[in-house]
């Protein structure tokens, strides 16, 4: 019974806030050039769809984010594994990589424009940068953090290098990796939003910039809503994968 009650509240509160928002605008308490209204946002979304902008823009933004994430994430896995497994690799690589991490990567945009030119590349680069670090750090910490008793076990059971990697190290590092993935996806999506403010000709950011030109608040808020919605869905998706892939982890921690 309490499960239903909880769900009701979880859904109920945002619904109530949206209703409050609409009421505030309809009654004039909140001027509608401030943040539009739920009705205005829906209207704007429908208008975008009629202009054939809604789904193609979402698609373009998602494609950009996905490409950047795949590139940055893959590099993160490679370097994370390397540094996790080898102390020598850590000595050579880690300090340099960490130096880049503390740079606020949004501030690198002018440099990225110079290095990668205009067009898609600097945007993808920004997203890849944001995706790289959470995965790199979390994976290499996770690999280092593998229970040494399990590593001893691997020696006792006479597992060779590859078997140890496959049966002990990588599955053991998976929970940490997935945490890194969640943060990387969040960072990638945030970076996408920033990247799309620069010379975008497609995507939700482009629609936002056009709306700004014509001071169309409803469309701007609608775009923000789209950004937020996709961000939430992505995170929920990862948590689902997490639950499936590491069911053993949850029950272990519950012990």
């Amino acid at each position: 019974m309490s499960g239903w009650h909880d769900t009701l509240i979880r859904i109920g509160v945002p619904v109530a806030l949206v209703a409050l928002w609409q009421a505030a605008v309809s009654s004039g308490v909140l001027p509608d050039n401030y943040a539009s209204s739920p009705a205005g946002v829906i209207e704007a979304l429908v208008a975008l769809d009629h202009r054939d902008l809604l789904w193609p823009s979402l698609g373009a933004s998602l494609a950009r984010a996905a490409l950047g994430f795949v590139i940055g994430g893959s590099l993160g896995v490679v370097f994370g594994t390397l540094v996790g497994l080898s102390v020598r690799a850590e000595t050579v690589l880690d300090a340099t990589l960490q130096a880049f991490r503390v740079l606020p990567h949004f501030a690198l945009i002018p440099l990225l424009l110079i290095w990668f030119g205009i067009g898609e590349q600097p945007k993808i680069a920004l997203i890849a940068l944001a995706s790289f670090f959470p995965i790199y750090i979390n994976l290499y910490k996770a690999i280092r953090g593998i229970d040494p008793r399990l590593r001893e076990l691997a020696a006792i059971q006479k597992l060779d290098r590859w078997q140890t990697l496959r049966d002990i190290t990588l599955p053991g590092a998976l929970p940490g990796l997935l945490i890194g993935v969640r943060f990387a996806l969040a960072g990638a999506w945030l970076s996408l939003i920033v990247a799309e403010q620069f010379n975008a000709h497609s995507g939700i950011g482009f629609v936002t910039m056009q709306a700004r030109l014509f001071s169309q608040i409803s469309t701007i808020v609608a775009c923000l809503f789209l950004y937020a919605l996709v961000g939430i869905l992505i995170d929920a998706g990862v948590r689902l994968v997490e639950r499936r892939a590491i069911a053993w982890h949850a029950s272990e921690r519950a012990r």
């Binding site: 008793r149 006792i156 597992l159 002990i168 599955p171 029950s251 012990r255």
Partner: protein, 250 residues
């Protein structure tokens, strides 16, 4: 650092006499502190040896050195390479189910591996848990899976580091009976480190008392098997051991 050798195969020569463990002049230092100070030890085929001693006497360190998990500062260790270890914590891999834990490191066809696991799990009485996950097992069950995994390797030497220390009294009794039976059936030699004097008497052919990094005393147990906890002929030995440990029996 000393040379650590394995026995050469084949073992056709004098198999019944060749010891499974031979330790000479073993010393282990951690910086300034000396944990083992000249240990000599031989374990013969099928022989069950227990080591008892107060905390800090070095018995676990000795076991780990014999097991090859640590390197000696001085001395030589000869050990049978087929050895396996069972620890106080069951050390099951949480992301593998029971039979895949038991067959960790085993190569070969999946069905054959599972079948081999099934057989050894039957020996420890856990056949019906074959597909379950470690998180669903009790302490005793997990430890039994750990035994099954150790047995599957058909070791000629089994090293046991306080294997029942984390279990409740009743489970401990059941596990002691199990170990006695397994040793009788498989004939492996064993080196058991334990706090429990009764356990040592129940299971061992020889009991070594360690004190401050060395073996202070040795008792040969001549009681016939199967042994019973309530057997009064155990009492003198028990008192002797407690005296060795510096504990007056109330």
């Amino acid at each position: 650092m000393s040379a650590v050798l394995a026995f050469p195969r084949p073992r056709e020569q004098a198999e019944a006499e060749a010891p499974v463990v031979e330790v000479r002049g073993l010393r282990r230092r951690f910086g300034e502190r000396s944990v083992l100070d000249g240990v000599e030890l031989t374990i013969g085929t099928g022989e069950f040896v227990s080591i008892i001693g107060k905390s800090g006497c070095g018995k676990s360190t000795l076991l780990r050195l014999v097991g090859g998990l640590d390197a000696a500062s001085e001395g030589t260790i000869l050990r049978d390479p087929s050895l396996n270890l069972v620890f106080q914590d069951a050390r099951l891999v949480p992301w593998r189910n029971v039979w895949r834990n038991v067959t960790l490191g085993l190569r070969g066809d999946k069905l054959r591996r599972r079948d081999a696991a099934r057989r050894v799990l039957a020996e420890v009485g856990l056949e019906e848990r074959i597909d379950d996950w470690p998180a669903t097992l009790s302490g005793g069950e997990a430890q039994r899976v750990s035994f099954a995994r150790a047995l599957l390797a058909e070791p000629r030497l089994l090293l046991l580091d306080e294997p029942f220390g984390a279990l409740d009294a009743l489970t401990r009794i059941r596990m002691q009976n199990l170990i006695a039976r397994l040793q009788r059936d498989h004939g492996f030699a064993a080196l058991l480190v334990t706090h429990d004097v009764e356990e040592a008497i129940l299971l061992s052919d020889r009991i070594l008392v360690m004190r401050e990094g060395g073996i202070a005393n040795e008792h040969v147990v001549t009681l016939p098997r199967p042994r019973h906890r309530t057997d009064p002929s155990m009492l003198p030995l028990k008192q002797a051991l407690l005296a060795d440990l510096g504990i007056a029996d109330a």
